[in-house]
């Protein structure tokens, strides 16, 4: 079986929308809350919010309004729970959006903003040129827009809002926590699982290659069919990682592709969802492969395509004991020195499953 590895570099594609930021007055509802007192939801809006949620697209709010008052209204509409980090205050909407992006830790080019006022859209567009702005007048067409239609809707996409919500709770707790970070992480009782990609993981695996930019060593993306071939290929190992802790599950959050020849194993791809960046689990899968390579007595190499966003992966390789051996074009090839193998942090329970 031959495996087609003609993969696309992610940065050349237009990223799908990960989060839609809503204005409220004259956009989500008819009327101006503070002037009219009573407002009614725009026709079809509740269905749009719920459908986007089902597709795994996160939603937030940038509205110039009174916070308590507006949240109260959203509650009576039964929609308040759908919005993460709602920004309801009087600052510029570009500032609200920046704050949402920072809290969610997703790329600025994966955000859409919908507002009825050209002034607000222009203000956002000018300050943050990569944001895609939509006129509230076209709200009925939103669900058909290609940018709002992820190729796959997986179990993980449907859970996405809940995972970000529990992450929000965790962050608040972490901020209140006074002891060292190590102690806080230990209190989470994290369970990290590493398993070969199974047939049921393929959609999520593809989704991870398409969605993950910051913690991605090469940015290679693979189609469902390619991944299915790779997972069954005798010359490859395709591993997926999951993470759970006392607050819930993060779902499947890491993917690793290893190309194995007789004497050399090459890491083609290592990625981790940005969602778990603050959990300090980034190098666990890597360490696992380093130990496997050492046991097998092979040379372990790793590819990296550096860009302005994935410096953390370069640092991860360096700190895990890799050294640069070659540069070709934009690709850097690392080789592990096998002198010291980093130990796994003792605050995580790591479970490795075999086929």
């Amino acid at each position: 079986m031959t495996v087609n590895l003609n993969s696309v570099i992610q940065t050349e594609q237009i990223a799908k929308i990960k989060c839609l930021v809503w204005d409220l007055d004259h956009t989500l509802w008819n009327g101006v809350l503070l002037e009219d007192g009573e407002v009614s939801l725009k026709e079809g809006v509740a269905d749009i919010v719920k459908e986007l949620d089902r597709r795994g697209i996160l939603q937030s709010i940038a509205s110039k309004n009174d916070y308590q008052h507006a949240m109260e209204r959203l509650r009576t509409f039964g929609l308040d729970e759908y919005f993460l980090y709602p920004q309801i205050h009087w600052s510029a909407k570009s500032i609200s959006i920046e704050s949402i992006v920072k809290s969610l830790n997703i790329g600025m080019d994966t955000i859409a903003f919908i507002d009825d006022q050209p002034f607000e859209r222009d203000e956002v567009k000018q300050a943050l040129p990569t944001i895609r702005c939509y006129d509230a007048a076209n709200i009925a067409e939103l669900l058909d827009d290609a940018d709002f239609n992820p190729e796959f809707v997986t179990d993980d996409s449907k859970q996405r809002r809940f995972m970000y919500r529990s992450d929000q709770v965790r962050k608040e707790l972490e901020e209140q926590y006074e002891g060292p970070q190590e102690e806080f992480l230990a209190s989470l009782q994290m369970k990290f699982t590493i398993a070969p990609v199974g047939p049921g993981d393929l959609q999520r695996a593809e989704e991870l290659t398409v969605r993950t930019h910051q913690l991605n060593t090469t940015g290679y993306t693979y189609s469902y069919e390619e991944l299915d071939a790779l997972r069954q290929s005798p010359n490859h190992k395709l591993l997926i990682a999951g993470l759970d802790d006392i607050y819930g599950s993060y779902g499947k959050i890491g993917l690793l592709l290893l190309e194995c020849s007789e004497k050399v194993w090459t890491l083609q791809l290592l990625l981790m969802s940005c969602r778990v960046m603050s959990r300090g689990v980034g190098s666990i899968m890597l360490n696992h492969v380093i130990r496997m390579a050492k046991e097998a007595g092979v040379v372990l190499q790793a590819k990296l395509v550096p860009n302005d966003r994935n410096r953390m992966m370069s640092i991860t390789y360096h700190f895990a004991g890799f050294q640069e051996v070659e540069r070709t074009g934009e690709m850097v090839l690392f080789e592990h020195q096998m002198e010291a193998i980093p130990s796994t942090p003792d605050y995580v329970d790591v479970q490795v499953q075999s086929l």
Partner: protein
């Protein structure tokens, strides 16, 4: 040099449970070096001491102990 050491120690104390890390302790052996810590350490050093750590200096041996971190910072700081 002393000032650098004090700053590095203060930074590390935010991460490690062990209350006093000796200058020569191998921090990688303390079991808490993860990719997040690595990134935070690199960013902290670059910002605090206004320097840029190039890939050639990202060797983990340069970050192994307080002494080696201080040595790296002093070396990178010198030519303005």
């Amino acid at each position: 040099m002393e000032e650098t050491k004090v700053k590095v120690k203060a930074f590390l104390s935010r991460f490690f449970r062990k209350s006093e890390i000796a200058d020569d302790d191998d921090i990688f052996a303390l079991g808490f070096v993860n990719s997040l810590f690595a990134m935070q350490l690199v960013m902290f050093l670059e910002k605090e001491f206004s320097l840029r750590i190039q890939p050639a200096d990202l060797d983990f041996k340069n970050f192994r102990s307080i002494n080696s971190i201080v040595e790296l910072v002093e070396r990178l700081k010198q030519p303005a």
